[in-house]
Symmetry: C2
Amino acid sequence: MNRKEFRDLATPAEAREAIDSLALEAGIERVPLAEARGRVLVARLDAELDVPGFDRASLDGYALRARDTFGADEADPARLAVVGEVHAGEEPDVALEEGQAAEISTGAVMPDGADAMVPVERTDMDQEGDDVLVRTAVAPGDNVMFAGADVAAGERALGPGTQITPRDIGLLSALGVGEVPVRAKPRVGIVSTGDELVRPGEDLASERGEIYDVNSYTIAAGVEDAGGEAVLYPHAGDEQDEMERILREAADECDLVLSSGSTSASAVDVIYRVIEEQGELLLHGVSVKPGKPMLIGRLDNSAYVGLPGYPVSAMMVFRTFVAPAISEAAGLPEPASATVTGRLARQERYEEGRHRLMPVGLVTDGDGETLVYPVDKGSGATTSLADADGVVEVGPETDYLEAGEPVTATLFSPDVRPPTLFAVGEDDPTVSRLLDGLENPRYLSVGTRPGLRRLREGVPDVAVVAGPLEADVETTELDRWEREWGLVVRPGNPDEIEGLADLVDRDLQFVNRTTDSGLRSSLDAAVAALADDRGTTRRELTDAIDGYDLGLRAHESPARKVIAGDADAGLGLRETADRLDLGFVPVGEQPVCVLANPDRTAKDGVRELEAALTDV
Amino acid sequence: MNRKEFRDLATPAEAREAIDSLALEAGIERVPLAEARGRVLVARLDAELDVPGFDRASLDGYALRARDTFGADEADPARLAVVGEVHAGEEPDVALEEGQAAEISTGAVMPDGADAMVPVERTDMDQEGDDVLVRTAVAPGDNVMFAGADVAAGERALGPGTQITPRDIGLLSALGVGEVPVRAKPRVGIVSTGDELVRPGEDLASERGEIYDVNSYTIAAGVEDAGGEAVLYPHAGDEQDEMERILREAADECDLVLSSGSTSASAVDVIYRVIEEQGELLLHGVSVKPGKPMLIGRLDNSAYVGLPGYPVSAMMVFRTFVAPAISEAAGLPEPASATVTGRLARQERYEEGRHRLMPVGLVTDGDGETLVYPVDKGSGATTSLADADGVVEVGPETDYLEAGEPVTATLFSPDVRPPTLFAVGEDDPTVSRLLDGLENPRYLSVGTRPGLRRLREGVPDVAVVAGPLEADVETTELDRWEREWGLVVRPGNPDEIEGLADLVDRDLQFVNRTTDSGLRSSLDAAVAALADDRGTTRRELTDAIDGYDLGLRAHESPARKVIAGDADAGLGLRETADRLDLGFVPVGEQPVCVLANPDRTAKDGVRELEAALTDV
């Protein structure tokens, strides 16, 4: 493959410029008024008619000639002959002359000859019912809304670029506008490539290395958030002709084609060749992290941007470079600024001279100040973004940020509300249920040891710890209870496993948890006790247990290995075994403690958690 | 009609309570992932699988047993036999033993026996190509993303009540979730009643007092903004059986029925009867202004709220009482607070002891401070809301607010951006075109005199004035030009009108503008000059002109009267006549001046306007 060389990575500014040079605008469309909310008016709209379209009575009462009431008052009412009546939605069939009045209802057309009206409360009918006595003087125009008083024909109603609100729809309705000319949404085709990708909802063969396609739906949702219309194309796999066909079909149908999903070099080579042959490659590689492998170019008559394959990189590059261009093409105003300034929770070092897009979470400390902490589970992780609130950008010249340094985070959207409670630690079903009842909590299942470490570092509000660990940090215990742990085995325990000793003495396949977890600490302690009983070393026993050293991070993974037939026993909770209809061999009970940072106990989210714990 | 008596108006708090007592929740629905953006998760979602689902190579290189590399370095590489290769999306067909390695690509499944990998950059192939020389030591787990490292099976993924963002869609994709259980949107049926109402886009017979139905589409858009699903029902007219049938059909199909639109007493009576007979009336009349005539109750198995007929009242009551209940039923979090505090631009007096919902506009003064000014064109006006930015609530105990008093306005939505330029005054086509090029300006066509008055009061940034008026206020003139005015006549001028004298001397029907307008000032001056010429009084001449005293506020209305055949000549601009393909008889030229408040000339919006004026 003979790739055109881009020796230097482009700067973020150059990447923005390249994207700006692509025309993403999609033209004009006319939408019915009922679908106009949120759309962007493409041209000025002047009133084509007066609103109201006629001189209109503002109240129930009598239409009359103001001059006939001059001098009238309670003591000396003016007497007028009632010559007709006018209701709303009717054409008046009377015209008033001097000394005459007509009964009129709210919203009705003022009859010819009338120039004012008097509300019924200021009048009396005379005995015969033919005349009305008006107990007040009115001036011309009193209680009449004249034609055009609300909006006058020819008046500027809405300017171009207006993003239509319900209130604007009120104005458009009043003007009788049934269809509104709006900026068409840019159509954005999303092509994902890679043999290993499977659409969510379909079956996954993990043993073959298949993974769910994360980028397609995520980027599609991002496109819609930005004001575009997302079109998902079928997976292209790694077959070259098919990939080229789908890319060109998307280019034919869309204003912008985004490819994403594959990390395979061969797929990138095909895309590269298609863009070079059928379009133009403007830029390859941008000096940002994450996100370096980015392509910008044209394909047939469409714009083209190739996003990195890793979900976090793809989303960060999309947000930073592509979303603003889509919003601009959609005619949307720049979104209301949503930035939060806070202190960096821990120091950060950067290796390379690249512009850095750092996903961050926000947490309020005990003084109500915002702490900003980097969320980084590696560029292959999908949770890095779901667990973050926004992004801090760090320039290429910065290689070090001190803890406590003030930084400004741009929220993912103005609607983002940082969590009311930030908790970390052991995965526990009781805790999870409690969190369900709280408003907007965040929980990171990092395990007991890392949870305690983070609590010590001062970032989370609360850590949930389990097992025989000593907390080496000052904490406030919010609650404590016991949970039963042991061996999760096949339904009905067909191997008749009775306890740890069977794992040592028999030929059974075991699945452990990582040393991060509180369950593992309790298991280690139980094994040590068994070793004491037998007068041997802990190591002797663990070497005898097949699988002891292979720990899974996942809470339910050992149980699931048992279900899959890959193991005879796994470390787990009785609650997990019950929930998954598996057998359970109890080994012990361990404490679960909910520990708060003492500075945060007055924080609303912590108090809510405490109240929820008390209610259990 | 025997209405149940509600002697006292309910307080706003009572109205909220009554609405809260209606159950608007719509249950649960399952939506495909592609449609889940913005929806609200109805239950906690735990991971059903590990992500990644297998131990995954993070880079291109060699999978191996870490132990085999211990001690290796650049000088003394470890030599391993390459026994196979694994690509992404493939099931490994090798298992490693001591001293062996397998070529592996990014994202591929780690083969059995391997516990680490080394990137290709740290290796060399030996001469024969059968062995790889590893120039570094790696630890178990290096460059491998273990199964469940991103999300572990059983881990809490998203909590109930989560409003799904693109980032959450990333997580859901990774978990393979194809369908998401979300809170169904409350269905809100909108029934408008009243014989006089016409749907926008249809023809309007103003002479019969018909008006466009403003409330239906406006409230529907408000329902959707609040997170509900709006269902528009056909107009019920004033026919009782039909109205009852439609109300009950809506109640059958929706969670909430809103009626709105009619101000006719008989329609209200029918609704009243239907609610009383088929449901329950909880509350009638609330002590707020605007909005007093509000009904809250139940109809069959649906909730029912009757909104006032006037658009501003309907929308204010909807926003204040109904929208929050819809959002809550939709499970949406309370929207990010969007309030702005500023100084009240002019004093306000209140007559009654009602809670007041005051639509207000916002404008930034020369010091960057926010001024808040009430927007009130009367409750029948539709522009009151389109020209406003938010609402100030004033309690019933307040009957007076001083100018300069600090008040807090709640923006109509967090997206509302107050205008960058606030201009008022004469309607002028050149000004209107200039405004099209500006970012988010606001222009109120109030005419020349009121425009000057408002500039004097210190609220707008700029006033556009036309005609022979003297500005009695210190202003900065941004620009000035001449425009041609005269008589707009039928196409081709079939009546051969030559000037003002014809209006006086011949039997012609004329249409004038109101005295607010600069055009009228120039016309008055021209008539005075003609009177001088003829040695008579101005009054003598104006009495001789049929229609001189009837002025229309509307910029184009006189021309439109000519088109409609209701007049032979109207006061207007050459530009208007040209645009509407009418004849034009020039009478004179008049100056148009754009005058700025001298304190605001440094304001961005004013400078942009000045630049645009210069560019013309």
